[in-house]
Subunit: 142 residues, 2 copies
């Protein structure tokens, strides 16, 4: 292991993705930042996520998630439904505006991913993702 090149490569890539995504979001005046996009995607997938689900998934402070979700609600993208299993929590779902935005975001991030993966073999890309997930697990079980 010499000089943490894996780590550096990961940081560089994550930063490049965030910059690129932010500038696309900015240019299209979508009014959301990259973390919002990730959260919208999760909410849209089940339409029954709780704030704690999201905080756990992204390993973020729950206070941060509360505020982020409130922004999405203020923008009319997300709504809360009562959670029948637990009166302390609410289930999050996309509004129709949220679904519309999700469509735009999906094409946007697909375009970005396809540009990003240009010239890379499908097999290598699959290896990349598998290794990334494995490394994440290795770090989280500490």
């Amino acid at each position: 292991m010499f000089n943490a090149i894996t780590i550096e490569a990961t940081f560089h890539l994550a930063h490049a993705i965030k910059q690129q995504l932010s500038s696309l979001l900015e240019n299209q005046d979508l009014g959301v930042a990259s973390m919002h996009v990730r959260v919208l995607k999760v909410i849209g997938k089940s339409n029954a996520s709780t704030a704690m689900d999201i905080a756990g998934l992204f390993k973020r402070d729950k206070a941060q998630i509360t505020r982020l979700i409130n922004q999405l609600i203020d923008q009319g993208l997300v709504q809360k439904k009562p959670n029948p299993d637990d009166k302390r929590s609410q289930l999050l779902a996309l509004t129709s505006a949220g679904q519309a935005l999700q469509e735009i975001l999906r094409t946007l991030s697909d375009e970005m991913e396809s540009k990003m993966t240009q010239g890379i073999e499908a097999e290598d890309l699959a290896t990349f993702t598998r290794v990334a997930q494995k490394m994440t697990r290795n770090l989280e079980n500490s």
Copy 2:
């Protein structure tokens, strides 16, 4: 390309690395954050980097780099030398304290990287790094 899994895997991994690294740095009271570590590493490599080199390498605002370097100087880890080629800029080098810290940091990040890459084939790891670098380049040439 379905649903930006590559992007999500990268964000998760980068976040896991940053959390792990931050907590190690915190536990050992090293007084530096992860960005500081990355900058120290670059400075130590040449002992003749300028602030602009670092800003360009990490794609960060030069104001941010100025302040970060000043923190390293205040901590006695880095020193400025005049740049014979350009009186506006200074060359950055590690002090002896900076070099001592660098040794600690190297073993720390090597240990982290080896834990992180446990159970991963060397070949797959090489593919990971190569693909990460290629994707970064793809995004930066936009």
